[in-house]
């Protein structure tokens, strides 16, 4: 292969090499230098369905499966009968057993299904899911899982992936749809953050604004106004040390008050999973 790639001449006569139909041939003496080479020419395939469909063979590789989506499955057919069918059933069973070879892989399969489930429950986009899965894999490589729960790690990976991507979800939201308890999540996230050095800054309250705004049924003008309040609060140093969810809710509440929209402190606090007291603190500070 390396021979074919390097722009050398013919090993016999130093003649010019030509590439044709997968063969490397010397154009001067006719020596076939290499027979097997990947043909980089256009593939012989028609895009029957529509030309926007770039699918070639099967699904692309994905990080969200333990085998990168390159699995083989023994299918079922109604056409084969009797002995052959039983043979295939046995093969299928053995194949399914052999598919997962190590404990590590088994854990990965379980955690990845859990991550898929949590991300779909939170309606997160696919890239976050993939990132959460690769985070889990790194955690496994660093041997962080020992003594901590898989469910906790699955939840923590989703939470961390969201934080890193700047679409924060609160711990409560993640734990609500996850099989993990909050303490399991906390332990796992702590380990992830410490040992993998996640590039996470404290969550910006603005990340929460669009979500809370739609939950409260506030329009985009109010949301924009709340965004300004968050900026103000940051300038005044009101954000540091406070729960960003609470700050976001308070800013939204303040903006809604300004625009005369219907929104109570209790509602806003409820959406953000904070107490009205937390909200009120920021609200009062903002008013000053």
């Amino acid at each position: 292969m390396s021979e074919a790639r390097s722009p050398q001449g013919c090993p016999e006569c130093d003649g010019h090499l030509g590439f044709e139909a997968g063969e490397t041939v010397c154009t001067d003496c006719g020596l076939v230098v290499s027979e097997y080479r990947i043909d980089h020419g256009p593939e012989w395939r028609s895009f029957a369905d529509d030309d926007r469909n770039p699918a070639r063979t099967g699904a692309p590789l994905t990080r969200s499966r333990h085998d990168r989506g390159l699995s083989t499955e023994i299918g079922r057919s109604t056409r084969i009968k009797g002995r052959k069918r039983r043979q295939f059933a046995r093969m299928r069973r053995q194949h399914n057993r052999a598919r997962i070879s190590t404990k590590r892989e088994r854990n990965q399969v379980y955690a990845f299904t859990e991550i898929r489930r949590v991300t779909s429950a939170l309606s997160l986009p696919n890239h976050i899911r993939d990132q959460a899965c690769s985070l889990f894999e790194s955690a496994q490589n660093e041997d962080l899982l020992r003594g901590r729960s898989l469910e906790g790690f699955a939840a923590a990976c989703v939470y961390a992936a969201c934080r890193v991507a700047g679409v924060s979800r609160s711990v409560e939201e993640v734990c609500d749809v996850s099989k993990a308890t909050e303490s399991e999540h906390q332990a796992a996230y702590g380990a992830l953050n410490r040992d993998l050095g996640l590039p996470v800054a404290p969550a910006d309250p603005t990340e929460y604004l669009p979500r809370f705004a739609t939950k409260l049924g506030l329009d985009s003008d109010t949301e924009r106004r709340a965004r300004e309040y968050v900026a103000d609060a940051r300038d005044e140093g009101l954000v540091g040390g406070k729960n960003p969810c609470g700050v976001a809710a308070a800013c939204l509440y303040t903006a809604a008050r300004d625009r005369g929209e219907d929104c109570t402190q209790a509602e806003a606090a409820d959406v953000a999973d904070v107490t009205p007291v937390t909200l009120r603190k920021t609200y009062v500070a903002l008013r000053e």
Partner: protein, 521 residues
């Protein structure tokens, strides 16, 4: 009526968005009743928890389903109403969240049943037909439609999946649950066959009743290889005496003669013997008890499933199956005696159209089964790892979504049909209208099928006599006639049956009546 008046009527007729009406009606019926029906069929998800000693069984009860209107969830978590034009431009799916009530119940055998957790949870997203009752633009005025970038004269009736508009092709199938008598040849001899595609809840079974060259009747149905003697089967169903069998088939002297030949050759005399004989056929080489169990299971499950009735006595259902088989036998004999002609498969009375709602129902059924299997797996997993069982943590909403979207996006439907969904033909406006009103015969286009391609007299007023493609699809792809009205099946079969019973039809299982006679299809 003169030309002017006809034009007036035609105009009025099409002024009220009737062009894709059949799609809307079908899909709306699916949203209103069809989905709930499918969930009620399923009713519970059983798990293997409780198979071990000292463990209480767990199962999930499925409750009401609720579909919202289409909306989109952004990455930042905000959720907004989605309009078709946005779905087209952003290459996303015009689909609405589906919620279902689920409760996890523990106990049952020794302990009392305890509801562990009950919640209404999002189970997935359902692609919504543009213009249907759940569509966001359903009630908008023309001005509002223009405002949101929608074409006011667009007929709707299609889905938007990943930004491409897909229309579900209406398919023309042979009517299920009907006896069709016809000639066939076997080993060079002409024989008579009565066929029934028995269909119930997405399960389809072909039952054949043949009169072979010796004049003996044989029945074949799924799960039995080859065929079973007619008399054996009828006796297994509980129709024992010679007299009654003959009487149920026909009183015609010549048919009686044929029937007596059959009875003479009968291998068994009583119901017990018959079930034993059947057991040997369905589970040959197995233990005696298992053979009997299997035989009973097969006749209750796989033989003529459409005669099953919720809440009806097993005996009654079996008797009804026996009567139905007798009707099939009669059809065979009448054909042999040339008392009747073979049934015309191309007659439109023997056709049923599967419109988008019916297709979506098939899809939703398999999707729900897949979801149920996933929930079962998740529950068992969670239980094994000693987690609390909550509804929210065992439902994976992408399972259902994927199962619903993928067939619409690719056209590969459940049951191995392909090309069910097609990209809406936007060549011009008429192209769209024609495409929405097109229907396809499932017959292979590579075979001649001359009769099926011919224009049949019963297509009058239903199918356009001239619009069909040239080439291999000629006569297999058809288009609706202008003023065609598509009727739908009855909403409530029970009330229909009750009505029939009150009008004097006897022997409908599940409905009290004096004497039992077979209910026609």
């Amino acid at each position: 009526m003169n030309r002017q008046a006809r034009r007036e009527v035609s105009r009025k007729y099409f002024s009220e968005e009737r062009l894709a009406e059949h799609h809307f009606r079908s899909f709306n019926a699916f949203l209103e009743r069809g989905m709930m029906d499918v969930v009620e069929e399923k009713a519970t998800i059983e798990t293997d928890i409780g198979d071990k000693e000292g463990e209480e069984p767990v199962y999930v009860e499925l409750g009401g389903v609720r579909v919202e209107t289409p909306r989109v969830r952004e990455a930042d978590g905000s959720e907004e109403l989605l309009f078709p034009q946005e779905a087209r431009l952003r290459n996303i799916t015009y689909s609405a969240p589906v919620f279902m009530e689920m409760s996890i119940v523990r106990g049952g055998e020794e302990e009392e049943e305890v509801v562990v957790d009950t919640a209404e949870t999002k189970v997935g997203r359902m692609p919504i037909m543009v213009g249907s009752s759940k569509c966001n633009i359903a009630e908008l005025s023309d001005e509002d439609l223009v405002e949101i970038g929608e074409d006011p004269v667009d007929p709707g009736g299609y889905f938007i999946v990943n930004g491409s508009e897909r229309v579900l092709m209406t398919s023309e199938d042979l009517a299920p649950n009907k006896i069709l008598a016809e000639y066939d040849t076997k080993y060079g001899d002409e024989i008579q066959v009565a066929k029934t595609f028995s269909q119930r809840r997405g399960y389809r079974a072909l039952v054949l009743c043949e009169r072979n060259r010796e004049g003996l009747l044989e029945v074949s149905f799924p799960s039995v290889s080859g065929s079973v003697n007619f008399v054996t089967l009828v006796r297994a169903l509980g129709l024992e005496s010679d007299e009654e069998i003959v009487h149920r088939v026909s009183d015609d002297p010549e048919i009686v003669k044929f029937m007596l030949e059959n009875l003479e050759e009968a291998e068994v005399q009583t119901q017990e013997q018959a079930i034993e004989a059947l057991g040997k056929r369905v589970a040959g080489g197995q233990g005696k008890n298992y053979q009997l169990k299997r035989a009973n299971y097969v006749i209750d499950r796989y033989l003529l499933p459409h005669l099953h009735e919720e809440g009806a006595e097993e005996e009654e259902v079996r008797m009804n199956k026996a009567y139905y088989l007798c009707r099939m036998a009669e059809a065979c004999f009448e054909l042999a005696l040339q008392r009747r002609d073979s049934d015309d498969k191309d007659h439109y009375a023997n056709k049923r159209l599967k419109v988008s709602g019916d297709l979506m129902k098939d899809l939703f059924r398999t999707a729900l089964n897949k979801l149920a299997r996933d929930v079962k797996y998740q529950l068992e997993r969670a239980n094994m790892r000693n987690r609390n069982l909550t509804v929210n943590t065992v439902v994976r909403s992408d399972v259902l979504t994927e199962r619903l979207e993928h067939p619409i996006a690719t056209g590969n439907w459940v049951g191995g049909r392909s090309g069910v969904s097609q990209l809406v033909d936007r060549t011009d406006y008429m192209g769209v209208l024609s495409h929405l009103r097109r229907l396809r015969s499932p017959l292979s286009r590579s075979q001649p099928h001359f009769e099926a391609r011919d224009l049949h007299a019963t297509q009058w007023g239903r199918i356009c006599p001239s619009e069909t493609p040239e080439g291999p699809n000629c006569g297999l792809v058809k288009n609706f006639a202008q003023a065609m009205e598509l009727s739908q099946n009855v909403e409530d079969e029970q009330s229909l049956k009750r009505e029939l019973a009150s009008m004097g039809v006897e022997g409908i299982p599940g409905i009290d009546s004096v004497d039992a006679t077979p209910a026609d299809d």
